[in-house]
């Protein structure tokens, strides 16, 4: 094989391999998350100049314009509490108490990282909108089957959830992997 051809082959293969590595580590995945709290994953350096190139690239792709963790902590779940991938053909319950923050919300996103179209134009539950039981706990339904209250609609496709904690309490700030966060329990699938 001539030298030129070998050089071209090495370049093409190198470029393809390099782009594949970026796609695999940053674009396809949810990115490198430093901490896990049950199904909820977060990074200590989101939005911060201290974040490394992988976190910065991942945030640019999956959470552009995220605030730094002093202001807001973002947790993302792509699985339920048992570790199974979130799937819109199944029903889920998010069960727990209000996380320690001035304000919180849980929002569903499609695999394209945008809000999921649904008949009632509802995309989240939050500290303001969630209906609680007498003991202060709440249970929210996630899935494509309609519910009257505490419902986060999805399509019948894979999805993810983002839990936002605005002005998180000191306990969450100091131990974000030990925060008391709602669990995600899978129900029936169809």
């Amino acid at each position: 094989m001539k030298f030129g051809l070998k050089l071209a082959a090495a370049l093409v293969a190198g470029i393809a391999l390099g782009l594949f590595a970026t796609w695999a580590t940053v674009i396809r995945g949810a990115g490198p998350n430093a901490l896990s709290d049950g199904p909820w994953r977060t990074s200590l350096t989101t939005g911060s100049a201290k974040s490394g190139p992988y976190t910065r690239a991942s945030v640019a792709m999956h959470g552009l314009l995220a605030l730094n963790r002093d202001e807001t902590i973002y947790y993302t779940a792509t699985t339920d509490s048992s570790g199974a991938a979130l799937d819109g053909t199944c029903a889920y319950d998010i069960v727990g108490h209000d996380p320690d923050a001035r304000w919180w919300s849980i929002t569903a996103y499609g695999s394209d990282d945008y809000l999921i179209p649904n008949p009632v134009d509802r995309y989240s539950i939050s500290k303001n909108s969630v209906i609680r039981a007498a003991d202060g706990s709440f249970s929210a339904s996630v899935g494509s089957a309609a519910h009257v209250q505490n419902w986060i609609p999805t399509s019948r496709a894979p999805f993810s959830l983002t839990l936002r904690l605005y002005n998180p309490g000191t306990s969450v700030q100091s131990e974000p992997a030990q925060a008391s966060l709602p669990v995600i329990v899978k129900g029936s699938c169809s």
Partner: protein
């Protein structure tokens, strides 16, 4: 081809792959910010986005519970002034992002007693140009270009109209007052 020659070509391929991977990793935030800039409209002007829904495509993973006002800035021609009325009955924050997506400044409604925001953004290396006063905050951007983002929480669906009116009072533009 000899085994030694193969090893050389494989090593060259891996070096190219590493360079492309590193380059694309560092370029991604800039490219994504560039796209966001182009979608957000004219520079040094406040844009008050509609409430996010399933049709929103400007920014990934928007919150449907917040109203976003954005001002892509370019400090080439001088400092930028951001003015806003701060609602104290709901969460509100003004944040600034550099060209590499880093969140280099944030101020929320509970961190100031002022009912109004007067924030001047200076270019890097020009931090002596504008002096802070009792009524004016002055900060220096790490990059010439960046983005101001104001978040206002819709904490009561019945008050959307009033919350939206207040957040639309926010403006940004070149600093024109005597310095």
């Amino acid at each position: 081809m000899s085994a030694r020659a193969w090893t050389g070509w494989i090593a060259a391929t891996l070096v190219v792959a590493a360079l492309v991977h590193a380059g694309s990793l560092f370029a991604l935030p800039w490219l994504v910010m560039d796209r966001a800039f182009s979608l957000m409209g004219s520079r040094n002007t406040m844009h008050h986005g509609a409430r996010a829904d399933a049709n929103s495509r400007t920014i990934v993973r928007p919150s449907p519970d917040l109203l976003y006002s954005t001002c892509p800035y370019d400090l080439t021609k001088g400092p930028l002034e951001v003015r806003a009325v701060i609602p104290h009955e709901t969460y509100w924050s003004v944040s600034a992002f550099d060209n590499d997506t880093n969140n280099w400044y944030v101020l929320n409604d509970r961190q100031t007693e002022r009912g109004k925001l007067d924030l001047v953004i200076q270019a890097p290396g020009r931090d002596k140009d504008v002096a802070a006063t009792e009524h004016r905050l002055v900060v220096t951007s790490p990059t010439i270009r960046g983005l101001i983002l104001i978040r206002t929480l819709i904490n009561d669906e019945d008050r959307i109209a009033a919350i939206d009116r207040t957040r639309r009072l926010a403006t940004c533009g070149p600093l024109t007052e005597p310095q």
